[in-house]
């Protein structure tokens, strides 16, 4: 499975997410970006491993922490950045912002400000795909906290009993906002919840892009072959606060540093070098290109015009 191109795509996708997020954090701190920001830094292997296991037309739905999913699904950095700036050229013409990016042309059917809210909707997309015989898989990203929502339960039950081509990717980063997993559920492995639906459950190391890819590929193949949905838990960690500005009274610096040792990008970089898939200078070049693309996206976002207010109040219905 692992060849040079594919390894390169994996690595650059993760780097792209990391650098995009670092830039977003910086712009947000400089008060250039309105609204709120939930950084995906630390969790890059999950979005990357999953999305690279998909076909271009497959659907994904995302969360408040959604930039990584979008980028891994190949959406335009420019239109994303413009959306963060609230501009007309953004994906949602400035109506959505960071928590509500969507690119239907890429199968990215929407991030979500409601925790767990996207799970039933993604399930509906899987149903649509099945009924229209589109052969598309629908992947739904959500967190450990979201797995305690009623919407999670009803959607997974439906997907299982209707045998829908869906993959439920739980990004277990051990916290729901400030609440540690041990305080919000009496289990360790969320994948076990699959049992409740007669669904296939699996666990990936969310700090290891190859582990995520492998499990996601299995799940997507199962879904595509009519073998039913999967609940795939990816164990991961977010490095920054829940939102930019989070005082983080709920964990120690030490805990964060421990997790950083497992950094998914550093680990995979080492792997590709050791396995002679890429050279350091190739990686440097790629990183440089990504940085340039991001900088360009920032300029685009900054310079883009604002959406027209009249238009914004006149387009409620088609």
């Amino acid at each position: 499975m692992m060849n040079k191109d594919f390894a390169g795509e994996m690595l650059t996708t993760m780097i792209k997410i990391r650098l995009f997020e670092e830039k977003a954090v910086e712009l947000f701190a400089a008060k250039e970006l309105p609204g709120w920001l939930h950084s995906y830094i630390g969790e890059e292997a999950v979005a990357t491993g999953v999305c690279l296991a998909l076909n271009p037309g497959d659907y994904i739905s995302s969360t408040h922490r959604g930039h990584g999913h979008c980028i891994a699904k190949g959406v335009s950095l420019k239109a994303m950045m413009a959306e963060l700036y609230g501009k007309k050229t953004g994906y949602c013409h400035g109506r959505g912002g960071s928590m509500h990016i969507a690119d239907f042309s890429k199968g990215m059917i929407g991030a979500n400000g409601i925790v767990g809210g996207g799970i039933p909707v993604a399930t509906g997309a899987a149903l649509g795909s099945k009924m229209k015989k589109m052969g598309k898989v629908s992947v739904c990203f959500f967190g450990d906290g979201a797995s305690n929502q009623g919407a999670f339960h009803e959607a997974l039950n439906l997907a299982a009993v209707w045998n829908l081509p869906a993959v439920y990717v739980c990004e277990n980063n051990l916290f729901a906002e400030t609440t540690p997993q041990s305080e919000h559920q009496h289990i360790n492995d969320i994948a076990q919840r699959a049992v409740a639906y007669g669904m296939f459950g699996d666990i990936a190391d969310g700090m290891n892009v190859l582990s995520v890819y492998e499990k996601a590929k299995l799940a997507a193949d199962r879904a595509r072959n009519g073998e039913g949905p999967t609940l795939l838990e990816c164990k991961t960690y977010r490095y920054r606060g829940h939102w930019e500005g989070d005082p983080q009274p709920y964990r120690t610096k030490k805990e964060i540093e421990e997790w950083k040792k497992k950094d998914p990008i550093r680990a995979f970089q080492q792997y590709v070098i050791e396995n002679r898939l890429l050279t350091e200078s190739e990686i440097e070049k790629a990183t440089h290109d990504i940085q340039a693309e991001i900088d360009e996206a920032v300029v685009y976002g900054r310079k883009s015009p604002l959406a027209d207010v009249q238009e914004a109040v006149c387009s409620l219905f088609v």
């Binding site: 809210g117 919407a151 959607a155 219905f317």
Partner: protein, 324 residues
């Protein structure tokens, strides 16, 4: 013209749409072999099978979510929520997903879905199966809200609802299912936002919905004998709301009474009155009156239920109070 029931009128549209449009499908609790709690889908599962007429688990969140997601990728689902009382089991899906998805994502998708549900009291079904909650989601931008009162309207409005590319809430009154009326055999659409004058009159305008249209019509007959000529307008859709027809009537009658089965306070009738009090102020000769359910949960015992739900006598009194 042939007479069929409100139930049959709805059924005809569902049958037709399932036949002509492969993207249309139905989903809901017990809509399969049983044909739904009120029999609207009777026979459709037998005719179109499991895939097109989908019995769901007892999961309103999943029903609304599945319909929304499927609509966003090109299907045209018609979901049934057995009683409107259960809509808010899926409250978040409706308010934060279905209503907002298209707009919030910058018009990237269409959302052609219909949610049929049942309103109304009259069966001693008590507080959790008798509500008329059509006013709540009318406040949430992103839905069209339809509330037919006759078999004819039911057919034409449901046709329009399924053709619409936006989320439509379709409220059927449980006491009307057996009501018969003239309905053409052929298919026709009734545009949204066009009120219907159910009775012409010159002395007072009554704006009524669902079963209250019929109660009001009976009251109007009674009042006619007293020399009071009542005009009755059925808005048919709450969103969009046809204020033109209502205001034109009030320009003539100078008096208005709004009647609905929903609870009085903060109910949908308040909006109609508020718009009249603004847009037709200069034509008004009398206080604007509302008749609605009393502000308590609907009780089970028939005599208590009738007392809480607007009766003809309540409508009669309200009209008399403005014409006297």
């Amino acid at each position: 013209m042939r007479q069929i029931s409100y139930r049959e009128a709805l059924h005809e549209v569902l049958d037709y749409e399932l036949q002509i449009n492969p993207d249309v499908f139905l989903l809901g609790e017990d809509i399969g072999p049983l044909g739904g709690a009120f029999g609207v889908t009777t026979g459709l599962w037998q005719k179109y099978g499991n895939e097109r007429v989908r019995n769901t688990p007892l999961s309103e969140i999943a029903i609304v979510g599945a319909a929304t997601g499927a609509a966003s990728v090109g299907m045209r689902p018609v979901a049934e929520i057995m009683f409107c009382d259960f809509l808010f089991v899926a409250g978040d899906q409706l308010i934060n997903q279905t209503a907002k998805m298209r707009y919030m994502f910058g018009d990237q998708c269409q959302l052609p879905l219909v949610i049929r549900t049942v309103i109304g009291a009259g069966q001693s079904a008590a507080a959790q199966h008798s509500q008329s909650l059509e006013g709540l989601l009318a406040h949430i931008p992103g839905f069209k809200s339809v509330i037919p009162s006759t078999p004819y309207d039911a057919k034409g409005l449901l046709k329009t609802a399924i053709e619409d590319n936006n989320p439509v809430l379709f409220y059927e009154h449980k006491s009307l299912y057996n009501m018969k009326g003239e309905v053409p055999e052929e298919m026709y659409s009734i545009p949204f936002g066009v009120a219907d004058v159910k009775r012409k009159g010159k002395d007072v305008t009554v704006i009524a919905t669902a079963e209250m249209v019929h109660k009001s019509l009976r009251v109007a007959d009674r009042l006619q004998k007293e020399g009071i000529d009542v005009e009755i307008i059925d808005p048919r859709t709450l969103v969009p709301l046809d204020m033109d027809t209502i205001i034109n009537s009030v320009k003539k009658t100078h008096k208005a009474v709004v009647v609905h089965e929903a609870h009085l306070s903060y109910g949908p009738g308040a909006e109609i009155v508020a718009r009249l009090a603004d847009e037709a102020f200069d034509y008004l000769d009398a206080p604007l009156k509302r008749v609605g359910a009393k502000d308590v949960p609907i009780p089970m015992a028939p005599h208590l239920e009738s007392f809480v739900i607007p009766q003809e006598e309540d409508i009669y009194k309200a009209i008399k109070s403005v014409v006297d």
